[in-house]
């Protein structure tokens, strides 16, 4: 019995030491150093507009709808789409009739917005996080004619804008993709210049 009591005391002391090191010292050290070295990233890659308002994050998607803006991934987060305080996907199976209904609705909405041609699947299927900030380059390009027409902008200029946003990726092996929020902000800038 005394052996067990001694082992318990020893285990408790060890736990306390490791608890303080891994639960406080480590995360606080990372917070302090990361906050000093990479303040922008550490605090969420937030985008601030001219009036000092936070309009969102470069890494977190937002809801846009075609044709006036480029549309991003469908989002199935609870309560509202792109709910950044409650991430998650639909978890619908590929054969679930409900999923097919959702896809049919999304296809219809895109067609009504004037988007023509085969639709890349990322444009009509919801992301895993519900916050995916990007669409594939194909999914952006297929929206170009509709967006250009809605805005009264030359198609070539809008396409050039998309292609410029899809350049240089951090690693190869991934098909080019485009950040939707950043693309739409560029689009507004182009529109204002025009």
């Amino acid at each position: 019995m005394t052996e067990i009591r001694q082992a318990a005391k020893s285990g408790l002391l060890l736990f306390l030491v490791l608890f303080i090191i891994t639960g406080f010292a480590y995360p606080l050290a990372v917070t302090l150093i990361a906050g000093a070295a990479f303040p922008y990233q550490a605090h969420g890659s937030l985008i601030v507009d001219g009036q000092d308002r936070v309009i969102g994050s470069d890494l977190i998607g937002q809801s846009f709808s075609a044709p006036f803006y480029f549309q991003g991934r469908p989002s199935e987060t609870p309560i509202t789409a792109y709910n950044a305080s409650s991430s998650g996907g639909s978890n619908l199976a590929p054969g679930n009739p409900l999923l097919l209904e959702h896809i049919a609705d999304r296809v219809r909405a895109l067609r009504n917005a004037g988007v023509q041609g085969p639709l890349p699947s990322d444009l009509v299927m919801a992301s895993g996080s519900g916050l995916d900030p990007a669409i594939s380059l194909d999914a952006a390009l297929v929206q170009v004619p509709a967006v250009a027409e809605a805005r009264g902008l030359p198609e070539d200029e809008v396409r050039a804008l998309v292609l410029a946003r899809a350049e240089s990726l951090p690693v190869p092996f991934v098909e080019p993709y485009v950040n939707v929020l950043s693309l739409n902000r560029e689009l507004d800038r182009l529109d204002r210049r025009g």
């Binding site: 605090h43 900030p133 739409n184």
Partner: protein, 568 residues
């Protein structure tokens, strides 16, 4: 990523595994030195000695297997109580800017068991229920401690198998301390900073209320000390996401590059351990033999998962939709990065996910299920995978010995009744748990309601829920609602039994085998480094795993696949 590029992805896999293997060999050498105490001199040695004196032990004081198991269970028990208390009291504690209240008792019990057993199956949504204090002092702490526990048991088993004529297999408290201070903490620290530099967040800010751009409405963006937890979540094959969406969330895994970094972290220790063993056994070929078994199971699984996703959903062509099934997947990872993550997280006991398995094509969803049900031996969770594969090898040696009519031996040690009992216990307990709990659940009236998808897919969800928990994986077919009280309690029991019964059994095996003398190899000895034996071990693993569960696969994912490809 609507259009996958199989050739580039194949190249990615080859390059990635070459890098992981080479790093694993080097890191294995480092791990071996750490546990031999080779770095415990000079200033770290003095600090370490002081700490050991404070807790009342010393580096030279080794224990027999019962002592080792007792220290391990006590240490984990204390961790469990501390985490449970934290979850129940979080409403009264600081670092809680969103003012989250206590976890309800069932969820708290499940969550504490989940993190202590290195499972990290989550029936709560992190950003909607856990305070920053809970994430740091609760989850992050257990991410370190449970990972260290697994690694230490693996090391103790290696000592038992390779030592001769002794009953001592190490000192748990010394091993745990060294594992955390020399291995887990430094790598996690550097990895956390690397992840922040790429966009993973690390702060204790309140949630940000963003105005939104243009037509997009206002958005509340969850914050938190994510990177420090993310790094150890992957490196310790824990897998519990800071956010509900886990590594699919852009703040946990923002780019294709961070995705590869995270997969690399998941695999590094599991890949290193066979090499640690080879070094300890004085024969790198023993390590390579085990590593070969792992690769031979892992690579075809990865390939199958990838190919199953390649053609996309056959039901969406009617809408003129092209490309792979993107439901539940993120664009930035590509199919390669998604498949590699999914296979790696279930081949180890990690369970982090960067895509939603519930929405995978049926056969692609079956692959993670199969890898988990094989016992997560290729490459295995930190530690637990390695000691489980030793259990399989002992069984393989025994059956082969019976077939050729010789006394079974491993590394010159006779395998006798005690070893076989313990190995069989290790190998069978998780599987038996899955079968019993799945069977019981099917009789309960609430089970059909907990399923999120109709038909055979709902059954797959149920099997996956218990497979994942009994084998301490933690990934999920997340549509399944496992938060009901039966599931919370059954899950907590499955995780606890699935973790500690094999762990103690393998320590007992180590203790018994350590006492044996080695006999020099004779003409009747089965060489355990030969290609024949390696293939034999793979077959034993596949037969135990696949045959035990084949009926479940047939009723779940296989029927699901047939219905889907037949056009429903």
């Amino acid at each position: 990523m609507a259009q996958p590029a199989p050739l580039l992805d194949g190249l990615l896999f080859i390059a990635f595994f070459t890098a992981v293997t080479i790093t694993g060999m080097l890191f294995g050498r480092y791990i071996g030195h750490v546990f031999s105490g080779d770095y415990s001199h000079g200033i770290p040695g003095a600090l370490e000695a002081r700490l050991f004196r404070f807790i009342g032990t010393s580096a030279g004081e080794e224990e027999d297997w019962m002592g080792y198991a007792r220290e391990m269970l006590i240490f984990n028990g204390i961790g469990f109580i501390a985490l449970l208390a934290l979850l129940l009291l979080q409403g009264y504690l600081p670092l809680n800017p969103e003012g989250f209240g206590a976890f309800d008792p069932g969820t708290a019990l499940h969550t504490a068991a989940s993190f202590v057993t290195n499972t990290n199956y989550q029936i709560y949504a992190g950003e909607a229920s856990a305070s920053y204090l809970t994430q740091m002092a609760g989850f992050t702490v257990q991410n370190f401690l449970s990972a260290a526990t697994g690694i230490c048991i693996a090391i103790a088993v290696m000592r038992g198998v390779t030592r001769r004529s002794t009953d001592r297999i190490g000192n748990f408290r010394v091993d745990v301390t060294r594992c955390i201070l020399y291995i887990l903490l430094p790598v996690a620290f550097l990895a956390a900073l690397l992840l922040v530099s790429q966009g993973v967040i690390q702060n204790v800010d309140p949630y940000v209320h963003a105005a939104g751009y243009g037509p997009a409405g206002p958005q509340t963006i969850a914050m938190g000390p994510v990177a420090s937890q993310e790094a150890v979540k992957e490196f310790g094959t824990n897998g519990g996401g800071f956010f509900n969406a886990n590594s699919a969330h852009p703040y946990e895994n923002p780019t294709p590059f961070t995705n590869l970094v995270e997969i690399f972290l998941i695999l590094l220790i599991p890949v290193s351990l066979p090499f640690v063993f080879g070094r300890m056994a004085g024969s790198m070929r023993q390590g390579w033999a085990i590593y070969t078994v792992m690769l031979a199971i892992y690579l075809p699984a990865l390939g199958a998962l990838y190919v199953a996703e390649l053609d996309g959903n056959p039901l969406t062509g009617q809408f003129d939709v092209t490309g792979i099934s993107m439901e539940g997947k993120e664009v930035r990872f590509g199919l390669g990065g998604t498949a590699l993550f999914a296979a790696s997280t279930t081949a180890t006991s990690c369970g982090a996910v960067n895509a939603m398995f519930d929405s995978f094509m049926p056969i692609a969803g079956m692959v993670p299920m199969l890898l988990i049900l094989l016992g997560e031996v290729a490459f295995g969770g930190v530690g637990s995978g390695f000691y489980t594969i030793i259990g399989f090898i002992v069984v393989a040696v025994f059956i082969a010995g019976l077939m050729i009519g010789r006394t079974p031996e491993y590394l010159g040690k006779k395998i006798e009744a005690q070893e076989i009992r313990m190995a069989v216990l290790t190998v069978l307990v998780p599987g038996v748990l899955v079968l019993i709990l799945t069977g019981v659940a099917l009789f309960l009236p609430g089970t059909a309601g907990a399923m999120h998808n109709p038909g055979p897919h709902g059954f797959s969800e149920l099997v996956y829920t218990f497979a994942s928990q009994s084998n301490n994986n933690g990934s999920a077919f997340a549509g399944f609602d496992a938060s009901g009280i039966f599931y919370a309690l059954a899950g907590a029991a499955a995780m606890t039994i699935g973790r500690f019964v094999p762990a103690v059994a393998m320590l007992a095996l180590a203790g018994s085998i350590a006492q044996k003398k080695t006999v020099p190899p004779g003409p009747g000895t089965l060489p355990t480094t030969s290609a024949t034996f390696t293939i034999w071990t793979i077959l034993v693993i596949l037969i135990v795993g696949a045959l035990t569960f084949f009926p479940l696969f047939a009723m779940g994912p296989i029927v699901d696949h047939l219905l889907l490809s037949g056009g429903g």
